[in-house]
Amino acid sequence: MEWARAWPIVCQFGVGSVLCAIGLAAGARGGYFDLKLKADRRLLGIVAVGFIGLLILSCLFTFWLPQLPAGNTP
């Protein structure tokens, strides 16, 4: 396990979470993004699912799948 491989995930999802937070806050300011509306709640859910899904995918292809098959030989 090369832990240095974690840095891209930290960087991409760290900066990504800041970008998402800025967008959500800027949307909510002034009431355009309104969690009382079903469509906006759904959008928030989709943003979260997308974020977490990509994070899981990134972790799988960084910490687990590259080591398969063991021994690195065809």
């Binding site: 240095a4 491989r5 840095w7 891209p8 995930i9 960087c11 991409q12 900066v15 990504g16 979470s17 970008l19 998402c20 800025i22 967008g23 959500l24 800027a26 949307g27 909510a28 300011r29 002034g30 009431g31 355009y32 993004f33 309104d34 509306l37 079903k38 469509a39 959008l43 989709i46 943003v47 997308g50 974020f51 899904g53 990509l54 995918l57 990134s58 292809f61 960084t62 799948l65 590259p66 080591q67 398969l68 098959p69 690195n72 030989t73 065809p74």
Partner: protein, 610 residues
């Protein structure tokens, strides 16, 4: 080795047939383009799925198959990282930028700059964007010419001319409507073909497990190492693609902005963005990279000896039978043409809306501007063609990288600060655009690059500069903007209402012309009839009994659309709730019926626009 050595006459015939079909498709849909709104924004009527697929065709650029397959061959699945870092921009795109440009009816990015910062900022943004777009037209035509040279043996300039004429033909006829419909076909084609090449390769190798085992271990990581190698480090790719290029793609790419504005509603923009970025973009990443991964696995298996830059074409030729390989060539052409057509249409929009209309002839009839738009499309194509010999002097990849790195960071940062920060001033926007542009341009030349870029290169050498320059550009442009803002007087909020975050509802009110009704309502289904008594084309007579279910009131914006989903919104019209109809049909004026391409008695549905 050229593709010409690999393709058979049957392959060439398939590819040429595809060419003809796409052009015919584009010309056919040209009949839906009769106003500048149709020519630039497709009549603002399209369904989310049409725009999602057409956007993928635009996203997969002219160089994508070659560039990402070469990266996939050399570095493995980390070649997809450029396509997986777009999602984080979704909240800014959907909750801030899109409602502002859609509801403010902003026709071009420079127009936003004028309304937010004043005319000098518009001029500066226009120069940047026209350089960006026209340069891209030249690069795309060069790539098209190069591809046709390797397939048919034609000289590059001749191939570029033929491709340019082909694309220009349907852009001239139908503008954005033809671009969207042809790109829909091209997006589906290139996704199917690219995925098919990958899956056929996996099957040939004996399944996913065998394919995976054949890849060297270093090729199995989703991300390259943080700061190595210099030419493909994570941080370099992330700075250039994840920050600058994606920011540019969603905020300042006139072609993409026009695509968003072609959607029938902001609600459809949400659906489109989710499908585009979360489903189609990852598929596109496999589409453009898969050939390189398969080529590498075939090489490791001792079946193919291949160079990185030919990985996609050689792997496809190895795996596909004659005739089928023709579809691969067609997919390459699809990627090339779908980017070029968008760019030509975008340049036309900027010229008409930012130069011709305000400075040459104001308040002319719409048909006059439509004629100018068509002539501009022709002129843009000709000018782009003239650039082909200039761009031939460098490799496509480095020319594209340098150009993008130089012009995008200042304008991305100016838009970002402009929409997110009401205090950001016009003087600061000029400092960001002009000062940032100069500082980035300086960094392109030695010895300044060696002085300015190392702090942004995370210990990497000069080979990383063309990637990390984007980060430098964003930082210096942003710092200039913030510093100047604190020393200059901001505009009052009333002057920029509807143009900055926190005022999106003002933009909605302006769009509707009254208070916004956001109560969720149902879609209603019925039939449409012409009512000559309705003189205002914007008013739609709706059965009174439907209004409570629709949660609609008189004056609310509604959208009437043909029920056949496969039209994708082509037969539809926007309007306002007018006087109730006497029976249970929807009543439209003759003008609205013609605009929506409806016939009496056709089955339609109606919904509130928001």
């Amino acid at each position: 080795m050229t593709v010409g050595n690999l393709s058979t006459p049957l392959d060439i015939a398939v590819m040429i047939t595809y060419f003809v079909v796409v052009v015919g498709f584009g010309l056919y849909f040209g009949r839906y383009s009769s106003t500048t709104k149709d020519f630039f924004f497709g009549g603002q009527r399209f369904a989310w799925w049409v725009i999602a697929f057409s956007a993928i065709a635009t996203t997969v650029g002219s160089y994508s198959f070659v560039k990402y397959s070469a990266a996939g061959f050399s570095y493995g699945i980390s070649s997809t990282q450029s396509y997986l870092n777009d999602w984080f921009w979704v909240p800014i795109l959907l909750l801030v930028w899109l409602p502002i440009i859609y509801y403010q009816r902003i026709k071009s990015i420079p127009e936003y700059f004028e309304r937010r910062f004043g005319r000098p900022a518009r001029m500066a943004a226009m120069v940047f964007i026209l350089l960006y777009l026209v340069g891209y037209v030249g690069i795309n035509l060069l790539t098209l010419g190069t591809a046709l040279q390797s397939i048919l043996g034609w000289p590059v300039f001749f191939g570029a001319s033929v491709a340019c004429l082909t694309v220009t033909l349907y852009v001239f006829a139908g503008g954005q409507t033809s671009v969207i419909m042809t790109d829909l076909v091209q997006g589906i084609t290139l996704l199917i073909v690219g995925l098919a090449v990958f899956l056929i390769g996996v099957a040939h190798l004996g399944g996913f497990a065998r394919f995976w085992a054949l890849l060297p271990e270093g090729h199995r990581y989703l991300f390259s190492a943080f700061n190595a190698p210099d030419k493909f480090s994570f941080i370099g790719i992330y700075a250039q693609d994840g920050l600058a290029n994606t920011g540019a793609f969603v905020l300042m790419n006139q072609g993409m902005v026009m695509r968003f504005l072609a959607l029938r509603s902001v609600h459809d923009a949400r659906r489109m963005s989710v499908v585009w970025l979360l489903v189609l973009a990852p598929l596109a990443a496999i589409t453009v990279s898969g050939g390189g991964w398969i080529a590498r696995a075939l090489m490791e298996n001792g079946e193919l000896d291949v160079e990185a830059k030919h990985a996609f074409v050689q792997a496809a030729a190895f795996l596909c039978r004659p005739g089928i390989f023709g579809f691969v060539l067609a997919a390459l052409m699809a990627a090339l043409m779908s980017t070029a057509d968008t760019l030509i249409n975008a340049v036309s929009a900027v010229f008409v809306n930012d130069i011709y209309r305000p400075y040459v002839r104001e308040n002319a009839p719409d048909r006059h501007y439509l004629r100018v738009a068509r002539i501009t499309s022709l002129s843009t194509a000709a000018f782009g063609l003239a650039l082909v010999p200039l761009f031939s002097n460098q490799s496509i990849y480095s020319a594209h990288g340098m150009f993008t790195a130089a012009v995008t960071p200042p304008i991305v940062m100016a838009i970002l600060l402009g929409v997110l920060w009401p205090r950001y001033t016009p003087a600061a926007a000029m400092a960001t655009l002009v000062g940032g542009g100069i500082l980035v341009a300086v960094s392109l030349f030695p010895p300044f690059d060696a002085w300015l870029l190392p702090p942004f290169s995370f210990g990497m050498g000069p080979d990383s500069y063309k990637f990390t320059r984007a980060l430098y550009g964003l930082v210096v442009s942003g710092v200039l903007g913030v510093v100047v803002t604190f020393f200059t007087r901001p505009l009052p909020l009333t002057a920029i209402a509807g143009l900055v975050s926190g005022t999106q509802l003002d933009a909605m009110r302006k769009f509707k012309g009254g208070e916004v009704n956001r109560r969720p309502g149902r879609i209603m289904y019925g039939h449409v009839m012409t009512d000559p008594a309705i003189e205002n084309d914007d008013l739609i007579g709706i059965p009174a009994a439907w209004l409570p279910d629709m949660a609609a009131e008189t004056g609310d914006l509604v959208y009437v659309c043909d029920r056949r989903w496969w039209f994708g919104g082509l037969r539809s019209v926007h309007g306002k709730v007018g006087p109730p109809s006497a029976d249970d049909t929807l009543r439209l004026s003759p003008g609205a019926m013609a605009r929506g391409h409806f016939k009496d008695g056709e089955a339609v549905y109606i919904e509130k626009a928001f």
